[in-house]
Structure formats: C-alpha cells, structure tokens
C-alpha cells in the first residue's frame, strides 16, 4: 500500500515538474502558419514543391545556388521535389512556382514571397501574414532583388535567401525572437542564431506543420 502511494506521488510530482516545461518548449519554438493550400492546387508541400527559375534569376545569380532549396528535404512528408531552371522553357512547367528577379523589390530587401489564389488574385488576408490565416493558397512566387550587389558577393547569403523564401512557401513564418537558431530569421546569416541553412528547429516546425 505504502509502495503504491509512493509510486503515485512520484508520478504526480514528475507530471507537475516536466509537463509545463515540455508545453512551454513547444510553444516558444513554434513559427509555422495556420494557413493551407487549396486541395486542388497541383503543387503543394505534400505533393513536393516544384519551382521554375527564370532567366532574370539565373542570369544574375547563376544556377547552383537554387539547388539549396533541397536542403529542406528530410525523412518527413513535406519536400521540395523539382527545381527546373532556365534555359528550360517555362511553358512546359505552367504549375511550377516561380522564382525570378523582381525589378521592384525594395532597396534593402533580399527577397519576398507572394501567395496567389487559383484565379491569380494576390491573397489579401489581414495580419500577421497570409501563411498564417489563408486557406486559399494555390500558387506562389519568390521575387529576388535584381541588384545582385545587394548580397556583396556572398553566395552563402544568396543560398540562405533561397532556403528562407522556400521556408515561406512551406508556410513557415519569421520567428519572434533571437533565442534559437533558424534559417527563417531575416537579415544576413551569421552561422549562429541566424543560420545559413535549415536547422533542427526549422525541421521540427516543418514536421509539426505537415507531419511525418
């Protein structure tokens, strides 16, 4: 009887001690959005993301940096499956998400990600961002700065930018604090908190969002 009471007490204490820490840890590092792609979208994170990189991007940044998108792949459901690049013709890949150099990307912006509905309307959800609230995403486009000097010749920074924007296509958001390392932090990477590539935190978010 006494033994049973001790065991029960130990279980209760362990629950009280460890449960809040566990719950807290999960909350703190969560930065995936609640949005989703429409079920009829031909390309989604679960079918495997398919991109087309056009001439404007390849001519400025070369072709090798874009394969960095595959760094997202791992032993889980969401993935990047295709990265078709110029000189392949875009007309053969109409559903692929576009990566290009956008002439109106702001002076101090490395790149941005746009979400569109099935009819091509830009998604107009309110704060914080479409990937957190919209369930009508059908197509995405990544716009890179046309000024390649922005990256100061740092190809690792360009690669990080590609990975970061593809993270948005997976509906991951910017983390809200510099207390863990992630490729989803904005700014130039430093190999520390502002990671060059996909981190364990990023992969955990991908798994939480899209499943094993």
């Amino acid at each position: 009887m006494k033994k049973t009471s001790v065991v029960i007490a130990a279980i209760i204490v362990a629950t009280l001690v460890f449960l809040p820490i566990d719950a807290n840890a999960s909350l703190v590092n969560s930065y995936y959005g609640n949005g989703s792609y429409i079920s009829s979208a031909p390309v989604t994170p679960l079918t495997g993301l398919e991109f087309y990189v056009d001439y404007s991007a390849v001519s400025r940044y070369g072709s090798s940096v874009f394969t960095s998108a595959f760094d997202w792949n791992g032993d889980y459901r969401a993935s990047v499956s295709t990265m078709v690049q110029y000189p392949a013709s875009s007309t053969a890949y109409p559903d692929n998400f576009l990566i290009h150099a956008d002439p109106e990307v702001g002076t101090d912006i490395a790149a941005n990600t746009f979400y569109y509905t099935a009819s091509g309307d830009i998604i107009n959800d309110t704060e914080p961002k479409p990937m957190d609230t919209s369930h009508s995403i059908a197509w995405c486009r990544i716009g890179l700065n046309t000024n390649s000097n922005f990256f100061q010749g740092d190809s690792a920074w360009i690669r990080k930018t590609i990975i970061h924007e593809v993270g948005h296509v997976f509906l991951l958001m910017h983390p809200s604090g510099y207390y863990f390392n992630s490729v989803m932090h904005r700014e130039r990477p430093d190999g520390g908190i502002k990671a060059y590539s996909v981190t364990t935190n990023d992969r955990n978010n991908l798994i939480e969002k899209w499943g094993y």
């Binding site: 956008d102 109106e104 990307v105 002076t107 912006i109 490395a110 790149a111 830009i122 704060e127």
Partner: protein, 213 residues
C-alpha cells in the same frame, strides 16, 4: 454703387468657397491606400541590432512633415497559368518637408522624396488592395516624424533604414518623454505592424533617450 458692392460680395464669396474647397481637399481627401484591405508580403530584409547601426547606415537623419503621395510603381507581370497580370513588388513615393537636420546634406525647408514599400493594386474584378512589403504603415499626411533615411540613386528617392527601425512618430514620443509615461505597444499600431515590435522596442528606447530626452 450698389451693383459694385453686390459684385464685390460675389467675388469675395467665390474666393471663400474656392479656399474652403482647396483646404478641405488637402485636409480631408482620402489617400489611395486608406480604407483598403492590406496584403502583407513576407520579406527577408536588412534589420539592425542597435540605434548606432541605424545611424551609421543613414545618409540623412531628419525631422520632417509628411506630405502627399506623389506616385506609385509596381512590377505586375503576365502569368500564362492565369492568363492575366498578377501583382508584384512596388512602392509609393511621398513628399517630405525637412524641419530639422541631425545628419546629412539637406537643409531646413527642403522637400525630399521618400519611397515606402507599398502600393495600391487593382484585381481584374476591380477590387483594390494595398500590397505592403513593409512592417510600416503608410506615413500620415501632415504628421511629423524622425527619420533615418538612405538614398537610392536608381529610384531617386530616400528609403527608411531597417524599414520600421528608421521611422519614429514625433508627437507621441515627445509626449511620452515629457510626461515620463511608459510608451505602450498598442500606441505604435497606427504606424508599425504589430508582429515585429520585439525587434523595434530596444532601438526605439535608444532613440527616445537620444532624440527626445
């Protein structure tokens, strides 16, 4: 004589009506972005860790009064999949009148052009939206701001250093500094997006201490 008085009154009346119309037009006319839904586009951009960094990156540091929107530009482009033009990046230019200079080659009274990363987009069904590539909301005409700006030669306009880290509303910061009350984050929502305050507050405190104390 009577005829002249009547004529004079008519001219005076007409002038008064014209003046009131112009005043009303300036003060109460809505700007293109007001009242529209906002599309927030996630951007990977340069952000700074301290006020000193923001100051160093700025070509000019000024206090200025926001004037009217001048023009907007965007990079819409054709997508075969949709058989239509879709929205791209873009910006809106706005006039600023310089009221105080802390750094840079501008003078009191100069009018300069600020470029903010938002524009109004019209979909094929006529729906208008504000496409915003910034954590800043558009500056309000007639309001006063402390600005840390860098110059873009190609676009011939200034832009905010560190986006929201380069713009501070003067009235509210002066009031809070004078009364010694703590600035509430909710008071910033008319200017800044409410998603990025954690990255703004430390620099805002430094700015308040240096420029408003």
């Amino acid at each position: 004589m009577k005829k002249k008085i009547v004529l004079g009154c008519m001219v005076l009346g007409a002038l008064t009506i014209c003046s009131l119309f112009l005043l009303g037009h300036y003060m109460f006319e809505k700007e293109a972005w007001q009242g529209l839904e906002v599309v927030n586009v996630p951007c990977d951009r340069l952000i700074y860790q301290s006020m000193e960094e923001v100051e160093n990156m700025a070509d000019i540091i000024i206090e200025a009064k926001a004037g009217s929107e001048l023009e907007q530009k965007n990079s819409s482009f054709y997508v075969a999949k949709f058989d239509r033009e879709v929205a791209g990046s873009g910006h809106t230019k706005r006039e600023l009148k310089v009221e105080n200079v802390y750094k840079g080659n501008v003078s009191l009274g100069d009018k300069i052009v600020l470029m903010q990363d938002y524009y109004v987009w019209t979909e094929t069904d006529g729906t208008k939206k504000v496409v915003s590539l910034t954590e800043l909301k558009p500056l309000e005409r007639g309001k006063h701001y402390l600005l840390f700006l860098a110059y873009d030669k190609e676009r011939e306009a200034y832009y905010e250093v560190g986006d929201y880290q380069g713009v501070y509303p003067i009235e509210i910061l002066q009031t809070r500094t004078r009364t010694g009350n703590v600035l509430q984050e909710s008071e910033l929502n008319h200017l800044y997006s409410d998603t990025e305050h954690w990255n703004l507050i430390p620099i805002l405190k430094e700015v308040q201490e240096k420029y408003f104390r």
